[in-house]
Amino acid sequence: MRNKIVFACFLLFFSLACQREKRDIRPSPTDLAIYDEAARESALRPGGPVSPQPVVNNPYNASGYDISEGQRLYNWYNCSGCHANGGGGIGPPLIKKDWVYGGAPANLFDTIAKGRPNGMPSWGGRIPEYQIWQIIAYVRSMNGGQPTSATSSRPDSIETNPQNIVNRTTGVTK
C-alpha cells in the first residue's frame, strides 16, 4: 500500500515535471467558437440553468518556459507600463480576486485581444495568439494560478516575487 502511494507520488511528480518542461514548437490555434462560449462574463442565465459553460484551457498552462516567455512579453508589449508588476497604475491591478470582465483564461484572452472600453487597448492582430496565451499564463501565475514548480522563485523586478505575493494576498501557494 505504502509502496503504491510512493509510486503514485513519483508518477505525479514526473507528469508535473514533464508539463513544466513542455514546449509547443508549433502553436496550434484555439477553437474560437468554443472560446466565445467560454468567455461569458455573467453568471446569470435567464430562464434557468442551461448546459454547462465550456471551459477553454490555456494551452500553455503549467509550462515553465511559457510562463517565463509570458513575463518577457508582458514587459515587451508594455503591459507593465500600465499594470506594473501586477499592482496596477494606469490600468487596474492584476494581482486580485475580482475581475471586472472575468478572470478565466478565455475572459483574459478576450480582454487582451478585443480591449475594454475604459482604456484597455485592443491587441488583436498585434500580438500573435500564442503569445497572448503565454502572457495569460504569466498573469495567472501572479495570482497563484500556476504550480510553483513552473513559476520563477526569483523576482525580475526590483521587488516583486510572485510567490511572496501569493503568500501575502491569499495566504496560500498553489
Partner: protein, 589 residues
C-alpha cells in the same frame, strides 16, 4: 456734494492704481475666481479679509455638492458672476451652480463625453486641473486631447477643437489660461513617448493659431531671431534635434501639462516642459532639449524669447512643469522682475523673468541628487552616485514626483512668503529596456518610493524668496497634494490626502482651524465674495492623482512598483481615506 465726492474717489483711484500695479504681485481683485491660478501672476492671493487669523476658528460648513465621480479631483472651482463652475475628472463634466440661491442649486451641466479609451493614456489618474473664464466663455480641456468653450450663461458648447491623438499616447489634464485672446493649452503624455507641444488657440473660435513643439528643429519649437537664452548651454541651432539620439526627439516627451503664467507688461508667458522620454536616461544620450525646460514666449505668436533647461538629460523624471509665480522683488538691493519656480528637483528657482537669469536655486526639501546650481553658467551640479540608467540606484532624493509636483503654491504680498505644498520622498530604481509602441507607456524604470528623512511623506512650508530659505514648515503624514490659497486675512488654506482641510497662520504656520472632508483632498482651494457680500472658501475633495491612485484606482500595494512606484510609499492610504468627489463650501456664521 455727491458729485464732488465721487470725483475725488475717482481721483484717489487714479492715484492708487499706478502704485498698486507697480508690483506684479498686487493684482486687481474683484473677489471672483476667474482662472485656476487666481490671476496671471499665479499668486493665488485673495485680497478678501473677512476671514482672518482671529475668526477663522468659527468657519462653518455652508453647503456641499457631489460630483458623482470617484477619481482624483484636482480642479480649482471658478466663481464668476455669482456662478460657480466645477470641472470633474474624466468624463470632464462642467457644472454651473447658482450662488444667488440657498444651497447653490445647479443651473446646468455640460457633458462633453470624451472618448472613454482616453483613460488608458492618462499616466497619473484621469484628473483635470480646471477651467478659465474669458469674455463670457468657460474654456477647458478634455482628457481625449480636446479643448472646449462653453457659454458661461447657457452651458451651450460654442466651439470644440481636437488637438491631438490618444493613439499616440496624448491626453490633456492641464487648466488653460487665456492671454490676449489666445487660449494656451499643452498636451500630457511624457510617460507615453509623445512629442510635447503647447498650442495657442483663438478664443473666439478655437482655431489653432500656432503650435510650439518642445522637441525638434527650431522652426517647430518657434525659436527665431528673438530667442536669447541667458546661458550658453541653451544657445545653438536646432538643439531640439542635436541633443537627442537619432529620431529620439520625435518620441521625446517634454509635454506642457501644467501651469502657465503671463506678464502683460513684458508680454511674455511662462511655462515648463515635462521629463524627456523614456525615463531610462541611458536610452537617450544627450541633453534632450527642450525637456525639463522653462520657456518664455509671446502669446500672439508663440515665439520663444528665452529658455532655461532646468534638468539637462533628466535622470529622475524631474519635469519642469511646476508653477511660475511672477513677483517684483528687491534682491541683493536691486529691484528685479522675477519668477519663482519650485522645481521637481527640490530647488526653488528665483529667476529674472525678463531674461532667464537664475538668481538663486536653493533646496526646499532634502536633496541628494544634485549639489548646487552654478549661477554663472546655469549648470545643475549633479551627484554622480545617483546617476540612473540600466542600473540600480538606491536612496535618491527627491523621488520622481519631486520635492514638489503639480500642486500649486501661493504668495502673499503681505508676508512676502511663498506657501509650498510639497512632498518628502526618496526612491530606489532599476533601469529596464523601454520599448516604444505608440499609445503605450514608454518608461523603462522600475521604481519604489518611500518617505524621505524624518519619515513624513509630505510637508507644507513657507519660503522666503528674497533670502532663499524656509521660514516655517509643517510636516504631514502624506504628500500635500492640494493647491493653496492665501488671503489678506493672513490665513493660508491647504488640504491633506487623509481628508483634513486646514487653515494656518500665514506668519508662523500655527494651525487655526481644520475640517474633516469625506475623502482625501488633492484639489485647489479658492476663496470668493458671495452675492451676499460674505467671504466663502471652497475646495473639492476626492482622493486620487498619481499619489492617490492606490485608493482611486484600487491598486494592489503588494507590488511596490505600482503607479510608477508611488504605491510603495502609499500602502497605508486606504486605511485613512476612501474615494469620492465632493465640493465643500465654508463661511463664517
Amino acid at each position: 456734494m455727491v458729485r464732488t465726492k465721487s470725483v475725488s474717489t475717482a481721483l484717489a483711484a487714479l492715484v492708487w492704481v499706478p502704485l498698486g500695479f507697480s508690483q506684479i504681485q498686487n493684482q486687481p481683485d474683484d473677489g471672483q475666481w476667474v482662472m485656476a491660478a487666481k490671476n496671471y501672476a499665479s499668486t493665488r492671493y485673495s485680497t478678501l479679509n473677512q476671514i482672518n487669523t482671529q475668526n477663522v476658528k468659527n468657519l462653518k460648513l455652508d453647503w456641499t455638492f457631489s460630483t458623482g465621480y470617484t477619481r482624483g479631483h484636482e480642479a480649482a472651482p471658478l466663481v464668476v458672476n455669482n456662478t460657480m463652475y466645477i470641472v470633474t475628472p474624466y468624463p470632464n463634466d462642467l457644472y454651473a451652480l447658482d450662488l444667488t440661491k440657498p444651497g447653490a442649486p445647479m443651473k446646468w451641466v455640460y457633458q462633453p463625453h470624451p472618448n472613454p479609451s482616453s483613460q488608458g493614456v492618462a499616466c497619473c489618474d484621469v484628473v483635470n486641473r480646471g477651467a478659465a473664464y474669458y469674455k463670457g466663455k468657460i474654456i477647458y480641456n478634455l482628457l481625449d486631447v480636446e479643448t472646449v468653450a462653453v457659454d458661461a450663461n447657457s452651458g451651450k458648447e460654442l466651439w470644440r477643437t481636437k488637438l491631438g491623438d490618444i493613439n499616440l499616447g496624448e491626453s490633456i489634464t492641464m487648466a488653460p489660461i487665456v492671454a490676449k485672446d489666445v487660449v494656451l493649452v499643452g498636451n500630457s503624455g511624457g510617460e507615453f513617448g509623445v512629442r510635447g507641444w503647447l498650442a495657442g488657440l483663438d478664443a473666439d473660435n478655437g482655431k489653432v493659431k500656432w503650435r510650439a513643439y518642445a522637441t525638434g528643429p527650431d522652426k517647430d519649437v518657434l525659436i527665431g531671431a528673438n530667442f536669447k537664452p541667458f546661458y550658453a548651454s541653451d544657445r545653438g541651432q536646432d538643439l531640439g534635434v542635436k541633443t537627442w539620439p537619432r529620431g529620439g526627439w520625435e518620441i521625446g516627451g517634454a509635454t506642457a501639462w501644467s501651469w502657465i503664467s503671463y506678464d502683460p507688461e513684458l508680454d511674455l508667458f511662462y511655462y515648463g516642459t515635462s521629463n524627456p522620454g523614456p525615463w531610462n536616461p541611458e536610452q537617450r544620450p544627450g541633453d534632450n532639449k527642450w525637456g525639463s525646460t522653462l520657456f518664455a514666449r509671446r502669446p500672439e505668436t508663440g515665439e520663444a524669447i528665452w529658455a532655461y533647461q532646468l534638468n539637462p538629460h533628466d535622470l529622475h523624471d524631474y519635469d519642469g512643469v511646476n508653477e511660475n509665480i511672477l513677483l517684483d522683488l528687491t534682491i541683493n538691493g536691486q529691484p528685479r522682475k522675477v519668477l519663482a519656480h519650485p522645481d521637481r528637483n527640490g530647488r526653488m528657482y528665483i529667476m529674472d523673468r525678463s531674461n532667464g537669469e537664475v538668481l538663486s536655486a536653493e533646496t526646499f526639501v532634502y536633496v541628494n541628487t544634485s549639489f548646487s546650481v552654478d549661477l554663472k553658467t546655469g549648470e545643475l551640479k549633479l551627484n554622480p552616485t545617483k546617476k540612473t540608467g540600466f542600473n540600480t540606484i538606491r536612496d535618491a532624493c527627491p523621488a520622481p514626483p519631486g520635492g514638489k509636483d503639480w500642486q500649486p503654491s501661493s504668495f502673499s504680498p503681505r508676508t512676502g512668503l511663498i506657501y509650498l505644498p510639497h512632498n518628502n520622498l526618496c526612491y530606489e530604481m532599476q533601469g529596464t529596456q523601454a520599448n516604444y509602441i505608440a499609445g503605450t507607456p514608454f518608461v523603462g524604470m522600475n521604481v519604489r518610493m518611500y518617505a524621505g528623512p524624518g519619515g513624513n511623506r509630505g510637508a507644507f512650508s513657507a519660503w522666503d524668496p528674497v533670502n532663499a530659505k524656509t521660514v516655517w514648515a509643517i510636516n504631514e503624514t502624506f504628500p500635500v497634494w492640494t493647491g493653496t490659497v492665501v488671503t489678506a486675512g493672513d490665513v493660508v488654506f491647504y488640504g491633506t490626502m487623509d481628508g483634513w482641510f486646514k487653515a494656518v497662520d500665514a506668519h508662523n504656520g500655527t494651525l487655526l482651524w481644520r475640517f474633516k472632508l469625506g475623502s482625501g483632498t488633492i484639489g485647489q482651494p479658492i476663496t470668493y465674495k458671495g452675492p451676499d457680500g460674505k467671504q466663502y472658501v471652497a475646495i473639492l475633495c476626492g482622493v486620487g492623482g498619481w499619489s492617490g491612485a492606490v485608493v482611486a484606482g484600487g491598486l494592489n500595494t503588494v507590488d511596490g512598483t505600482a503607479a510608477l512606484g508611488f504605491a510603495n510609499a502609499m500602502t497605508d492610504l486606504g486605511k485613512y481615506t476612501t474615494k469620492g468627489g465632493m465640493l465643500y463650501v465654508f463661511s463664517l456664521p
